[in-house]
Symmetry: D2
């Protein structure tokens, strides 16, 4: 990283995973399918590994699986950029557009935080399927942030 | 039903369940937790039975579980009112607001179809927890409808 | 009102109008087309009077006009139920669905506050055209509430 | 443009403006404040010139003005990329997040079409104020496209 690089996030991937495992063991109840691949300044990248439970007949990934991926990815970006107090952030609104039918493959969510304020965080999520450049879903999530920070 | 009652839906609960079991066996992969309680003229009511996988520490039901409930409930209302062709309806947009922290109990989704057109259906969903009158979540889902009808 | 009636709102229509005239004279810059018809416990009803500027060729009311009506109506419900401090509430999110083409007539927005919390208010809006029972638009607006209350 | 450039849009700015003037003269009823600055492959850029009617006390641009800008900008991107038939496209849904208080200056909407299908178009809009890099609003608009194309 050069001296012109944006600030590094507060927590790295290992620390975020440890926090999540301690606070939300249920997240990975179906197996470790949500993998944090990158956390940066106001950004994050999370992979959803394919699993039979999420595949519908006709071979597409389910809407709820994509919702979970988007929600989790924004949460990761918030924790990575706010620090430990971000664990208490809660989703207040999610708007998700399903743009095209995804292949039954791994999916990746790229998050950009549009706003990281005192009370609210707003994250934009682009979801793509492995092997295709087309966006399969796009979401905007709003999180309410903990007050004591 | 009196002669002034609105039209009955096209399919009853048993027929809807049979269609779903045949087309989407994965829906109930985690157990039959989504129970169709009522289907009426442009309405539906679906219960989500509590399960450990959906409960977060602190005893609340997860956002993804509520998304799944809302999505499924609108889908049921569409199939019940359109008929078998409704099986091919796909979610294009979901906007969900999480209003208050739900208790770790069963939840119910009440659906009202705001629009059931030629190409699009829009359903409004109110989600409540057993034992409390307060709405825990509110959603608006838009579905694209199959073209040959 | 009977003894079982919900609490009355904090401010009546006259007081709300006076507050708005003092703080936001621009609201009525195009003429007094937004008329507060009713304010109740977590509810409000506002009329948008038809005007040439809002009518598109083909005789329908414009999307921006409906957005303005929905936004204003939720704001009125908040001020009426919170009191004067509600003037400082600001819209953070609006999700609006346009359901059917409206007639070039007056429109009415019926608001129900789904949530009136410490930090956020969420209002649901149903918009209808005079002379027709069908909903022409449906919106959910989220407002951030002032902190000192 | 190099040989690697994406396809040019179907209509250029002058043609789009002529179409809009013929079909929707009311758009500019308050003066020509919406200026098309650029139309590209699945993109567009539109400027909203500042005017007293849109400025609230405290010097910020109104929510409805930003909604109008976003809606118009996506519409321009659709017409520019579909051709004349795009004039019949109608907004079915708009989700807009107001991220920070804008200065009382000109605003610019940058549009990227996330989807331009057979029936639906989905456009993402980033709105910024002159003189500041921060996004003041972000919107996702869904349009229903005319069937005979």
């Amino acid at each position: 990283m050069t001296s012109n690089a944006p600030a590094t996030p507060v927590l790295d991937i290992a620390r975020i995973e440890a926090l999540l495992d301690a606070s939300f063991p249920q997240i990975h109840s179906g197996g470790r399918n949500l993998v944090i691949e990158q956390v940066g300044h106001h950004t994050a990248c999370v992979r959803l590994k394919t699993q039979a439970r999420n595949i519908r007949p006709g071979g597409t990934v389910s809407g709820p699986a994509m919702f979970t991926l988007a929600d989790f990815a924004v949460y990761v970006a918030i924790i990575g950029n706010l620090g430990e107090s971000g664990i208490e952030a809660v989703t207040t609104n999610m708007n998700i557009n399903f743009l095209s039918k995804p292949e039954p493959r791994d999916m990746t969510a790229h998050v950009r935080l549009l706003r990281l304020g005192r009370r609210l965080a707003v994250g934009e999520v682009e979801i793509t399927s492995d092997g295709s450049p087309d966006m399969v879903a796009h979401a905007i999530a709003t999180y309410s942030l903990p007050s004591q920070r």
